[in-house]
Amino acid sequence: MNFSKSFRNTFLVILLSLIVSACATKKTTTKVEGQMQGDVYTGTDTVKYLADGVPDRVFFATNESILTTKSRDTLRKQANWLRENSSINVVVEGHADERGTREYNLALGERRANAAKDYLITYGISADRISVISYGKERPVDSGSNPLSWSKNRRSVTVKAN
């Protein structure tokens, strides 16, 4: 009697944990899907803010330096903020993910940082207020080796220089 009861309990526990873990798996998958469009990161995990409502970074597709609609929106907010704070200068850091050769990634990071810089200039920010630096793949924010981590690392980040 006792034996069968404990057996049934164990069975229930196993069944329950299976259901819970199934839910957990499902939850993370949808979370990943919600954070990437194509292979461009659209989440907010790593994003910091230069001011209220002014995100500091934009994200890129693999091997690309094209600005997405969302990136352009972010950069317009940065341009507005820079116009309102004319004494602030910035450095735009360009970054790449770990799935490329080191030297090409240095060039790619520089290209990404300049894509962001050029957009800020188009919106009226003087070129001498913006400097760029490429870190290639040397400074990832997410140390995982998976598509979501890589998407967070393909970025340009606008940082206050003074």
């Binding site: 050769t101 240095l106 060039a107 290209r111």
Partner: protein, 448 residues
């Protein structure tokens, strides 16, 4: 810092009996049947042993030198050094006149014997290479140097034996410069490090205060060019290894990177990035004249000269993706040479001139491969999760590169290590380093 100490060679006699010798190794093919060789400990008398302890804190430097030789021959993949326990003849007697039947009995085909003396703060080494099957001496050499140089003596003996038996120069008396890595991926600390080819005598050339990348030797292996983020300005630097003096290369208003010396050592070739575009430039180290070599809105990087200085291979995405190109060294006649599936990067011209080694990325895998300089005959040597940046051994027979492992979602399990592989695609092995390591560059042969 690293002193290229003069080695005084006294060549006793060098029998060039190649035409008659029975043993010979073909290194152009994968060697699955390494040559059985016996490396007898170099004999040292009691007086020298006492001096050895005083000078080096090593009791039997003769045995230690023979271990250096044995290890070199083993990692070349071409030799099978036999266990010393099976040796029947004592080192001093074998060195005078080996009993060939005894060595043939343990299946040795070649034998190395020698003698070491330390007197008046000088290390004197003589060694002989014997052909067991033919029953005679193939080579005998002696040299004198400072005692602290004893590991180099082992490397030089290895080079002489390798050259005598393969007909090609060795690569053992060489160094590797690389980037030592420590700490988590998001805050990696990188230092320039230099070590002997076999992983010994590691020295750190920078402190890790700033990010450093891609060091490369000049042809005499006394200078290094590399990328440093000193004061957060990524620029190509030049470092004199012996004096430790450093200087920025050129006066560029932006990032310079991917540096390499020209084979005559007179120029540095590199990329300069401006306004999102990277092109290739050279700077003459004597008159400081800067020349622009490419002018294209795409990324042009990873330049490498042909050994005769006449051509440059480089990496460009002008076709839309990373591919390998060759041009004349004035920038004319640009031709794409990589046409296989996937992306190609880090082309580097072989010191023999006939091949270009590269990194290839295809379907999420990274390969180290070689192709002829017109792009034909592509051959992939090794496939892995991540590996790149091959550098040639000075004889053009071995490639060293770095390999990274995949991390889990928390960033654990990541490592970066140096590996080497023969041009044949055989003999892949990890190169020992004190820390994690990347961006290796192989020196020229130091004792030439």
């Amino acid at each position: 810092m690293i002193r290229i100490i003069n080695l005084f060679f006294i060549i006793f006699f060098l029998l060039s009996a190649k035409a008659y010798s029975l043993i010979e190794i073909d290194i152009t093919r994968g060697n699955l049947d390494p040559l059985p060789i016996a490396v007898s400990p170099l004999f040292q008398d009691d007086n020298s042993k006492r001096n050895s302890i005083n000078e080096l804190k090593i009791e039997n430097v003769g045995s230690e030198i023979s271990l250096v030789v044995e290890n070199n021959l083993k990692i070349s993949g071409l030799f099978n050094p036999l266990s010393k326990e099976a040796f029947l003849q004592k080192p001093d007697i074998a060195h005078l006149k080996p009993r060939f039947e005894d060595w043939a009995l343990i299946k040795a085909q070649a034998l190395i014997t020698g003698k070491v003396t330390i007197e008046d703060k000088k290390l004197k080494v003589e060694f002989r290479l014997w052909d067991i099957l033919a029953g005679r001496e193939m080579m005998a050499l002696a040299f004198t140097t400072v005692p602290s140089n004893w590991r180099r003596v082992g490397h030089i003996i290895s080079d002489k034996v390798y050259e005598r038996l393969t007909g090609e120069k060795g690569y053992f008396d060489t160094r590797i410069i690389y980037v030592s890595e420590e700490g988590p991926k998001t805050a990696r600390v990188k230092k320039l490090a230099i070590m002997d080819q076999d992983g010994f005598n590691t020295k750190y050339l920078t402190l890790g205060n700033e990010l450093v990348l891609t060091p490369r030797f000049n042809p005499t292996s006394q200078m290094v060019t590399y990328l440093s983020y000193f004061k957060n300005l990524p620029r190509v630097y030049l470092l004199d290894i012996e004096t430790g003096t450093q200087e920025v290369v050129g006066d560029f208003p932006g990032m310079t990177f991917a540096p390499r010396f020209s084979p005559d050592g007179k120029k540095i070739i590199m990329s300069f990035a401006k306004d999102g575009n990277s092109d290739i430039y050279t700077m003459d180290l004597e008159n400081r004249i800067v020349e622009r070599i490419t002018n294209h809105p795409s990324i042009d990087t990873s330049p490498s000269y042909s050994p005769d200085n006449r051509f440059i291979t480089f990496n460009s995405d002008r076709s839309g993706y990373q591919q390998i190109y060759v041009m004349k060294s004035d920038g004319s006649n640009v031709k794409r040479i990589s046409f296989g599936k996937g992306l190609y990067g880090t082309p580097v011209w072989s010191p023999r001139g006939d091949l270009i080694a590269f990194t290839k990325l295809h379907k999420g895998k990274f390969y180290i491969g070689v192709m002829r300089t017109d792009g034909s005959g592509e051959r992939l040597l090794t496939e892995n999760y991540y590996q790149e940046a091959p550098s040639w051994s000075p004889n053009g027979r071995v490639l060293i590169f770095y390999r990274e492992t995949k991390s889990n979602d928390k960033g654990e399990g990541f490592s970066a290590k140096l590996w080497s592989i023969d041009l044949t695609g055989y003999n892949e092995r990890q190169v020992q380093t004190e820390t994690d390591a990347s961006d290796p560059s192989w020196s020229s042969l130091l004792s030439n």
